[in-house]
Symmetry: C2
Subunit: 335 residues, 2 copies
């Protein structure tokens, strides 16, 4: 599994180059009043990351939807980007089909599956991503596809130059002893614990990404908290937590402005009840760099933790069981 | 504290009647391309609940923002509803002031404080809510104010008739032995545990509301999970959780369509590792009714659990400490 993560620099570059070499849909962007990402799990997080990157940069609202239900306001002025690594995620396919019926501008991103066939049948723009990877380890393939696509369409949330620089950084980090060592330290810290991952709102998709990695690779439950909201309710839960609690706290620190003070306060408050804290300081000079640094360290750490626990990081038996249920609940007779 | 919850029917009715007796802002609703709620904690959850109720009913996107940062796309075509029970929540005031500078249509809702003074100074529509309550127990005062306000403005997410019926239901539930008994059962079940609250996406604001109630009233940490996303990552965390885990699962069941099957599957998967599950079946014939039923039972249960644990449900010392930090980080020199 480690080798998938260590190829992230190359994976990102391939995806980026592919988008710049292929035809992309011509859409009059003045017609678009909002952008909706549809996706679940390791594909859904791409929408969260894009929405967070767009927050301070795009004049159009970006929503990330992790559901088979589509909100009523999705219409012909909505740009819908549907992402499913396999292309077979039932929730995503159903919501995408609904968007299609409403006349939205739909673009699909997958390595194949129903989503690709749906696109062929209804003549929707489809962007292929590299196949044969473990979906959650295909994050750069999906994310850089989307960032490059949006940049080419005129919805620039990360400039071409910034994307390029982040790919160079990723390549360096994939070969960096410090990154590997940080991942091992983090995995060692989290042994035998239920992690509580805390970040600021801008980096909340990273906190959720780390949760998902520890869920899937390390097979442990994880709790996520986001500041400033944390200071209005969850904080009180640490005044007198139940005695048998085996939680440990992972603080994701962007080191920006107010965030570092707030996150330092989180550390103090949680340490007071003898819960140990580990601070992951995000490296990089842009939001994208910081997000990818955190994703890489977290991904590697979750695999190391799986090794410590004697579990197979790749196998996710229970997700297969879930999929058996969802295919019965969501019948796809479209393609 | 219990008595605050038991007055919810009357509290909701007062708020509802007040909005129908007062002047409300005249806004050309065709000018509005999106609606943004700003609020934190017990006030912020109102935006989550409204956004969820609007999901299938409103042709305009509704966002709930729990941050001092405002997304770039908030502009003169945005209707901003800022809610702070005290009116002094720094994050909310700062984001509201930013919306004001961008020329958004801003309406403020508070029992007083800076938000009211800001509204007076800049001639913003302000809706007063009943003062002297514990903020989190003032949920109906805030929620029914907002629902009635939106209905009167022409953004009907819940009809006047539906609001009225839910108030009648709330009154009945406040005097119902079954509701009280369900709350006590739930509190007893959750003794000495860290709850994991699971719901479907439509009822996710209720799951977060329950978390916040157990945080603030019972002083315990809580984890929240939402289906269908849960089946794509968190599920794996229950394959082999750390041995010392003292979690218990609270399933919030709307009993709708696909949800009940998915939530039943959650129960099976989590029970397999000997984690006990309690199913809270939401009563009522509308989404609003179901949400309020869950909020009431959860609120009462969190107070009973506080009693079992020997903690004071009203006092939230650590939130006061947080507020000392945030007032230093966010200086308000506006009013």
């Amino acid at each position: 599994m480690i080798e998938y993560y260590l190829s992230w620099g190359i994976q990102a570059e391939k995806a980026f180059r592919y988008v710049y070499s292929t035809n992309i849909p011509k859409i009059d962007i003045t017609e678009i009043s909002n952008i909706v990402f549809i996706g679940m799990g390791g594909s859904g997080i791409v929408g969260d990351l894009a929405a967070s990157l767009a927050y301070n940069r795009l004049g159009v609202p970006v929503f990330s939807i992790k559901d088979y239900r589509l909100p009523m306001w999705v219409n012909k002025n909505t740009l819908v980007i549907s992402i499913s690594y396999s292309g077979n995620t039932r929730e995503t396919v159903l919501a995408t089909y609904e968007a299609l019926k409403r006349g939205s501008h739909v673009i699909t991103v997958s390595s194949g599956g129903i989503l690709r066939r749906l696109s062929e049948k209804y003549n929707l723009p489809h962007i292929s991503i590299e196949g044969g990877l473990v979906p959650r380890a295909a994050l750069p393939a999906m994310l850089y596809t989307v960032l490059a696509l949006l940049e080419r369409m005129g919805f620039t949330i990360v400039s071409k130059d910034e994307i390029n620089r982040s790919i160079e950084n990723l390549k360096l980090w994939c070969n960096s002893r410090e990154v590997d060592s940080e991942a091992k330290d983090l995995a060692t810290f989290l042994k035998e614990s239920i992690p509580v991952v805390v970040s600021c709102s801008k980096f909340s998709p990273l906190a959720y990404r780390l949760k998902n990695e520890f869920n899937e690779n390390s097979k442990i439950p994880v709790k996520v908290e986001i500041v400033p909201e944390w200071g209005h309710n969850d904080i009180v839960g640490w005044e007198k937590p139940p005695a048998t609690s085996n939680m440990k706290c992972l603080i994701v620190n962007c080191n920006e402005d107010k965030c570092k003070h707030l996150l330092n306060f989180v550390k103090e408050a949680i340490s007071r009840v003898n819960i140990k804290c580990y601070t992951l300081n995000l490296k990089g000079d842009s939001d994208l760099n910081k997000l990818m640094y955190g994703c890489l360290v977290g991904g590697l750490a979750s695999v190391y933790l799986a090794r410590f626990r004697g579990v197979n990081p790749i196998e996710t038996t229970s997700i297969s069981m879930y999929k058996n249920i969802i295919v019965k609940l969501i019948k796809i007779n479209i393609v």
